[in-house]
């Protein structure tokens, strides 16, 4: 039994314009201590999926189907009080906009202590000391005085660290990070990623990292799920995903990352925009933007299958799975892209080495 099992999760939003299926039959699982990434564009449903894990999707959204099992118990059917005990204690979320996620009228310390008290982890002086220790732990200098700072007095990087400290305050088994580095300076982002890696190993906390930045994923994740239009289109261990993307959408995403020294006049980019959430395209939702789309893609919806065997994917196995007709042999011309790996001398460090470009690049076709 994995730590977290998500099965056929389906979330709908009832908007003025119609019903939006923000998450559509999503299944995956996370093992204890693992770092799992969910990647996708804005509107792909990754944040909604994360909120669903703690039944936090408010109106006008509604979880209409599926199960979220944490340690085998379905979170979505827990009584109120038990759900409350789970939130923040067993599973914690670090929200994207750190300034907005902190209550502006209470100090940083008060909010950490409050969380610990809500779960009877610690209280009084002890809670305060633990809060300060936590702030230090997430690398905040002068934690003692930061404890009584208000959120607006913090810079974006510090606020994000505080949020991580709040998330860690009850030593959860699973920490969900929703776009934790978006909007931060690269230097601060680097600090934070370093911190996450360190925390993941020292707290033995499983992490679900939600991001649109594949660079971040490559940095620190074990396995990746790629979402498109509310659905999982590919799931793979991180190396496989980067070196052998099995879905054209993943390949397109990888190609569009601006790279230092890539020396391309134009950045390859995916044509078109994200699918209309109310009336998604028929068949494969990606087909209108897919350079390899064939007739079958518009008519038949591809299943999530193992890329090797083409057999239906099983959420419990850590295989490389993708939802593309290619893998069931339904695509006549196949996927025409290749991954080119530019290998530099192994000791090269970027920026300082005279050789210039480094890493691996992905090119279209």
């Amino acid at each position: 039994m994995a730590l977290l099992e998500v099965e056929n999760l389906t979330v709908q939003f009832y908007t003025e314009d119609g019903v939006v299926r923000a998450v559509d039959g999503l299944s995956y699982e996370i093992e204890a201590g693992e770092t799992f990434a969910i990647v996708g564009e804005s509107g792909a449903g990754k944040s909604v999926a994360s909120l669903s894990l703690l039944d936090l999707v408010g109106r006008p959204g509604e979880i209409v189907d599926g199960e979220v099992r944490f340690r085998g118990r379905n979170v979505l059917e827990l009584p109120r009080e038990e759900l409350r005990r789970l939130r923040g204690n067993d599973v914690a979320i670090v929200f994207q906009d750190s300034q907005a996620a902190l209550d502006p009228v209470y100090t940083v310390g008060e909010q950490i202590v409050e969380t610990m008290r809500a779960h009877e982890v610690a209280s009084g002086r002890e809670a305060r000391e633990r809060a300060i220790a936590l702030l230090e732990r997430v690398g905040i200098a002068d934690a003692q005085s930061r404890y009584s700072d208000y959120p607006h007095e913090l810079s974006g990087g510090i606020a994000q660290r505080v949020l991580v400290a709040v998330g860690l305050s009850c030593e959860p088994d699973l920490l969900i990070l929703d776009e934790p580095t978006t909007g931060l300076d690269v230097t601060i982002q680097a600090q934070l990623l370093e911190l996450l890696e360190e925390l993941a190993s020292s707290f033995e906390t499983a992490i679900q990292l939600v991001t649109h930045d594949l660079g971040v994923v490559a940095e620190c994740c074990d396995r990746v799920l790629v979402m498109y239009g509310g659905r999982a289109v590919e799931r793979a261990p991180v190396e496989e995903l980067f070196y052998d993307p099995a879905h054209p959408y993943t390949a397109g995403l990888l190609a569009s990352i601006p790279r230092i020294g890539a020396d391309r006049e134009r950045l390859p980019s995916l044509p078109g925009g994200p699918p209309n959430p109310i009336q998604p395209p028929t068949g494969c939702r990606f087909h209108p933007r897919c350079p390899y789309a064939e007739e079958v893609c518009a008519t038949s919806e591809p299943d999530l299958v193992e890329t090797e065997t083409g057999t239906a994917a099983d959420a419990t196995r850590q295989d490389h799975v993708a939802a593309c007709h290619e893998h069931t042999g339904d695509l006549e011309d196949g996927l025409g892209y290749a991954v080119r790996v530019v290998d530099d001398s192994p000791d090269a460090t970027r920026g300082t080495s005279p050789g210039g470009s480094s890493g691996r690049g992905h090119d279209d076709r």
Partner: protein, 317 residues
């Protein structure tokens, strides 16, 4: 910035506001046609010498700015002098009326918050449900009901027909059970519209806050719903209510004029109306000054309360 420093800073800025307010009311009162002496002599054609002597007696013959400075000098020594119309000490006159208005104002202000805040919270939490609709209708009715009409209806129902309360204030000290009983009707009258405004405002700012990310984050942290609503959402939502509650001081003065009239309540509102009618400039000025001070003080309190509730205010530069 500490709260004390912040308060001090705000208090200092109130001084020019007060000076400005008094100067404006002073000149306004004098620029309106008709003069206390006209009222004194009842528009009769008195001997011009008598008229001039009367004007001189109250400095009415001096240039406006001199009158203002003289008056200001009196004000800072808390010497308001004698009213040319009533012959009574202006300070005493105002002081005898003030407690009534303060009592009524504080009571209805408190009542309006006591009704409006919980009702607003309830409506916000039960958005779209019958409780919300009911509060919306109640608020609409409350806002739309004129004080004058409501006061009379209450008077006829509860005082005349049911006989539960008196129509006119009892001969009792202001702080007494009898008086407290009497004050219920005027308080309800005055509080109704205010409570309605507070309800709607509380509801809308609660709704706005409920949609904020920190609320979801607070729930995600496993806080009890009670804590989320009462500790987090309410405090954030209350800034708007605090602001309006402060502005309502002016509204209260306005409402008091009507309510005091209906309930024969000897407060500042009646005094002001009466004095304006009599061109009793000295009383009008003292009353307006007092109202200005009260308004400025209320706003100061609001600012300080605001700063206590929302630390961002203190730090904003």
């Amino acid at each position: 910035m500490s709260i004390i420093r912040y308060t001090l800073r705000r208090a200092l800025t109130a001084v020019p506001v007060l000076l400005g307010a008094t100067a404006i009311t002073f000149s306004f009162v004098y620029l309106t046609p008709g003069d206390p002496v006209d009222v004194l002599v009842g528009f009769d054609h008195v001997d011009p010498e008598t008229r001039a002597a009367l004007r001189a007696e109250y400095n009415l013959d001096r240039p406006l700015w001199q009158q203002y400075l003289l008056w200001l000098g009196d004000v800072v020594t808390f010497e308001f002098g004698e009213s040319p119309i009533t012959g009574r000490d202006v300070g005493e006159t105002v002081a005898s009326r003030l407690p009534h208005t303060v009592a009524l104002g504080v009571a209805s202000w408190t009542l309006s918050l006591a009704i409006g805040v919980p009702l607003g919270i309830l409506a916000a939490i039960k958005q779209g449900q019958p409780a919300d609709e009911a509060s919306r209708i109640a608020a609409l009715v409350g806002i739309a009901t004129p004080n004058f009409w409501l006061g009379l209806v209450l008077l006829f129902v509860f005082a005349v027909h049911l006989g539960w309360v008196r129509v006119t204030p009892p001969d009792a000290p202001l702080v007494s059970l009898e008086m407290a009983w009497f004050v219920i009707l005027p308080t309800v009258t005055l509080a109704t519209a205010l409570a309605a405004i507070v309800t709607r405002l509380m509801r809308s700012s609660m709704r706005r806050e409920l949609d904020r990310e920190y609320v979801r984050a607070a729930r995600a942290r496993g806080l009890r719903e009670r804590t989320v609503i009462l500790k987090h959402v309410l405090r954030n939502a209350s800034t708007a209510v605090v602001t309006v509650a402060g502005l309502q001081i002016a509204f209260l003065v306005d409402g008091a004029v009507v309510v005091e009239h209906v309930f024969s309540w000897p407060g500042m509102g009646q005094l002001l109306v009466e004095s304006i009618g009599r061109r009793d400039v000295s009383v009008v000025q003292a009353s307006v000054l007092l109202i200005a001070v009260a308004t400025v003080a209320a706003n100061l309190l609001v600012d300080v309360a605001y700063a206590i509730i929302d630390p961002r205010i203190r730090h904003d530069r």
